[in-house]
């Protein structure tokens, strides 16, 4: 009864769409359980404006409380709920059910290339370790001005795209190179290096380029564009990687 009460809130949105049944085929795994890795199907009744995250909640809250996944903000800004939905990396909170084919089961799996901890939760530490490798912070030499550092609107625009990154790992865990070579920094780390390399206020571009010129750096990228397609923030990830490659070759930013 109360579940209906919660769903009624979505009915008030624009463009009313009737409710429908949808089956989620979810990858389950708990290393402490004897059941092992398996697929489980759950069929739930959802509404037109509901997202995959709403369906996961419906299952966790009313069918099986042991289903485990990360989420927080539920509107695509915190980066907690990247998962593989119908074989593509997406944020569950940004993927509307009605945009998927609901006539067949929707598959939901953890993102690939990182160790699975339980159900849809993966170990994020290797991902953040790569991020930390690229000096993801402003390094500005010289004496600090008393007011702000000046930067033109054009200089600011130069790295705007890569400031949008929410570190959800959708790009990195969509990369075939990362799947086979866990040592590769991966797209997200390069995106965050790009964000500083092309910031006019930063003085550590050369050091970052040197790091990214290493064995596990940008040259591992095979330009498959999976990362760009996966990015829920619409960052042109492959383009950013190409710009970093170019900068490594020319030694200029």
């Amino acid at each position: 009864m109360t579940a209906v009460a919660e769903k009624s809130q979505t009915e008030t949105g624009a463009g009313e769409i009737p409710s429908f049944e949808v089956t989620l085929r979810i990858s389950r795994f708990d290393p402490d359980s004897e059941k092992g890795e398996r697929w489980e199907d759950f069929t739930v009744t959802m509404q037109g404006t509901d997202r995959v995250l709403d369906a996961l909640h419906e299952i966790k809250w009313h069918v099986d409380g042991s289903l485990t996944f990360r989420r927080s903000c539920a509107h695509g800004i915190c980066g907690s709920d990247a998962m593989r939905i119908n074989g593509r990396n997406r944020l569950a909170c940004k993927t509307l059910l009605k945009d998927l084919d609901i006539n067949k089961p929707i598959t939901v799996e953890p993102i690939k290339g990182l160790p699975v901890e339980k159900d849809l939760i993966v170990d994020m530490e290797p991902f953040f370790d790569s991020y930390k490798e690229v000096m993801p912070f402003l390094v500005a030499g010289g004496q600090e001005p008393s007011r702000e550092r000046l930067q033109t609107a054009e200089q600011r625009e130069r790295f705007d795209d890569t400031t949008k990154c929410i570190l959800c790992a959708a790009c990195t865990s969509s990369c075939p190179v990362f799947w086979t070579d866990g040592q590769y920094f991966g797209p997200a780390a390069i995106v965050n290096a790009h964000r500083f390399i092309f910031d006019s206020r930063d003085d550590a571009g050369e050091q970052r380029l040197e790091i990214l010129n290493s064995k596990e750096g940008v040259w591992r990228c095979r330009t498959t564009f999976n990362c760009t397609e996966a990015c829920p923030r619409g960052i042109q990830v492959t383009k950013a990687i190409a710009e970093v490659k170019q900068a490594v070759i020319t030694g200029r930013v």
Binding site: W61, G65, M124, F137, D199
Partner: protein, 591 residues
């Protein structure tokens, strides 16, 4: 069980926690403990900006900012705190810029500024451009910039450690010598208990918007900090003051920044009338949030709502250039497209108020020290950000002042915590302090299966809070909410969870969170019942005006002692704390 020893432990890794960590970790051995990963914190969802009287684009000064904050808060603001915040705002913005925050720029290359609700020049004359911003993702940039600098400074994080209890050497209600001594945490990955002993503990654990159904808040904003403090005998201040942000996406509650109106967006009813002209002739759509939210709710109540159920109004951006929208409001317009299928270039966006921000919280002074009553501090215990109540927001927070609050008072709390740690020894911890936590978890995990569900209790709580303690309140609705909460608390005593495992048992975590939400909702509803006046975000239809004679004071909610009787069958006793008034005598608010 493991025990860790630190000088300073910070609970929460959003803006306030990380700003505190950047200060304290320079001088003291610091651990930051968070139930999320730092970059998942809800600071990242803030959009519009951070106000500071930089005067980069037009005349401005911090005194005007102080005045706006005090008036916006309906004179319940502690004016010494507001003055500190408005003064230190300027350095707070410049510090962030130096840390690398990519602010939007003026043609001269300075930090650009834009208008925001309630921020004016010359004491209410006209809107002023005071908000420093990075498109409509300023909070995201602040969170990322602070995290980047924590990485640079090698700050030590314990991610996905859920803090469940705060440890003190005595009871803050009765023990004058009480000191903070650490926290008890639950490691989500393993289910193991970790005790962090510390000389200083800083609460920066965010808000509690999940007591409401329609909210801009993250699922994880369950008021853990204030609730565990309250259980241990620390009072909570002004909890009845909750802000409903005018422009949530209708039906969903997802936030659309006030920056949309700062950039020229207009609210319209079903007749496409710019109705704010009637409610706030000078500031119109940029009046403070409590005024705008009530006006919107009133339009809907009087039958001028839009849509099939006439239950929302419109945010109209269609007169703005698409290129301007793309440059200044890219994220929020994408929310409208993604979640409602509305194209903001050509169509107005359905919006309605959404529970957004708790003005109240753990009481502190301007050093961030936590108070155990109206006057005395608890040495070694600090709080900052939404979890705290300084009080710079009074009865209603002005837009952008939350990002400012976390930076100014996060920094102050971090400094004070490190200084205190330098002066004292690690308090001794008696054996068995983790027992209440262990027992709480065991009870929740070991109960026999029930039909009832944690989620159903939570949703019922949110429904009653939305129906009874939202924008409009009366004696009757507050009592209804209190009665419902009492029933829900009974159900909570017997409800079972399904996941019995140790590893990532988020079923168990949600159960603990619900307990915190129930406690806080009761304090909010009781505070709303007892405050028989209308002020800021608290509006009583049976007491429609502000009553400075009887209610110009902060509410302090205390947990009763075992032999003490609470109000209305609760375990809550109400007290007061004087409002600090320095420059501005209370006046009637007009906008």
């Amino acid at each position: 069980m493991q025990t860790h020893n630190y000088d300073v432990v910070i609970v929460g890794a959003g803006g306030a926690g990380m700003r505190a960590a950047l200060e304290s970790s320079k001088h003291a051995r610091t651990a930051v403990v968070t139930k999320l990963y730092p970059t998942r914190s809800h600071t990242g969802a803030a959009q519009g900006g951070m106000c500071a009287a930089l005067a980069n684009v037009e005349d401005d000064n911090w005194e005007w900012h102080t005045y706006d904050t005090v008036k916006g808060g309906d004179y319940l603001v502690d004016q010494d705190a507001a003055e500190v915040m408005a003064k230190e705002a300027i350095d707070a913005v410049l510090d962030l810029e130096k840390m690398g925050l990519p602010f939007n720029r003026t043609p001269e290359g300075k930090i650009d500024q834009r208008r925001f609700g309630g921020h004016t020049r010359d004491h209410g004359e006209a809107p002023v451009r005071r908000s420093c911003y990075a498109a409509d993702r300023t909070g995201h940039m602040i969170l990322q910039t602070l995290y980047q600098n924590c990485v640079k400074q090698d700050v030590e994080f314990f991610n996905e450690y859920y803090v469940l209890d705060v440890l003190m050497t005595g009871d803050p209600r009765s023990d004058e010598g009480v000191r903070a001594s650490g926290v008890v945490t639950y490691e989500l990955a393993t289910g193991e208990i970790h005790i962090f002993r510390a000389k200083s503990v800083v609460f920066a654990s965010g808000g509690f918007g999940k007591i409401f159904k329609t909210t801009s808040n993250a699922h994880t904003l369950t008021g853990d900090g204030p609730a565990m403090a309250f259980r241990r005998g620390i009072p909570l201040e002004d909890m009845e003051f909750f802000q409903f942000h005018p422009t949530g996406l209708a039906g969903l509650g997802i936030l659309l920044s006030e920056a949309a109106r700062g950039e020229g967006g207009i609210l319209r009813n079903n007749e496409m009338e710019r109705f704010m002209e009637r409610y706030a002739p000078t500031l119109k759509d940029l009046a403070p949030r409590d005024v705008v939210a009530r006006a919107m709710a009133n339009e809907v109540r009087e039958g001028r709502g839009a849509g099939p159920k006439k239950d929302y109004v419109y945010l109209d951006l269609t007169h703005l250039e698409p290129s301007h929208i793309d440059a200044k409001l890219p994220d929020i317009t994408e929310f409208a497209r993604t979640y409602l299928g509305v194209e903001p270039y050509t169509d107005p966006i359905p919006v309605f108020p959404t529970a957004h921000y708790g003005m109240g919280g753990i009481p502190t002074n301007i050093r961030g020290e936590v108070l155990r009553n109206a006057t005395d501090v608890i040495p070694g215990l600090y709080a900052a950000g939404e979890t705290a109540c300084v009080s710079v927001h009074g009865g209603n927070r002005l837009g952008t002042n939350s990002l400012l609050d976390i930076n100014v008072f996060g920094r102050r709390a971090g400094i004070a915590a490190a200084e205190h740690a330098d002066e004292v020894d690690l308090p001794e911890l008696p054996e068995g302090l983790e027992t209440p936590t262990v027992e709480l978890l065991q009870r929740l995990r070991d109960r026999p299966a029930t039909e009832d569900r944690i989620a159903d209790i939570r949703i019922a709580l949110q429904v009653t809070m939305d129906a009874n303690v939202q924008v409009f309140r009366t004696d009757e609705t507050c009592r209804k909410a209190l009665a419902d909460i009492k029933d829900l608390k009974k159900r909570y005593e017997t409800v079972a969870i399904q996941d019995k495992g140790k590893r990532y048992n988020l079923d168990l975590m949600e159960a603990v969170e619900l307990g915190f939400l129930l406690d806080l909702a009761e304090i909010v509803a009781l505070g709303a019942l007892e405050r028989k006046e209308s002020r800021g975000g608290h509006f009583r239809e049976d007491f429609e005006t502000r009553d400075d004679v009887n209610f110009l004071s902060h509410t302090m909610a205390y947990r009763t002692l075992p032999d003490e009787e609470g109000l209305e069958g609760t375990t809550i006793r109400m007290g007061t704390k004087p409002v600090v008034i320095t420059r501005y005598e209370p006046k009637e608010r007009t906008f």
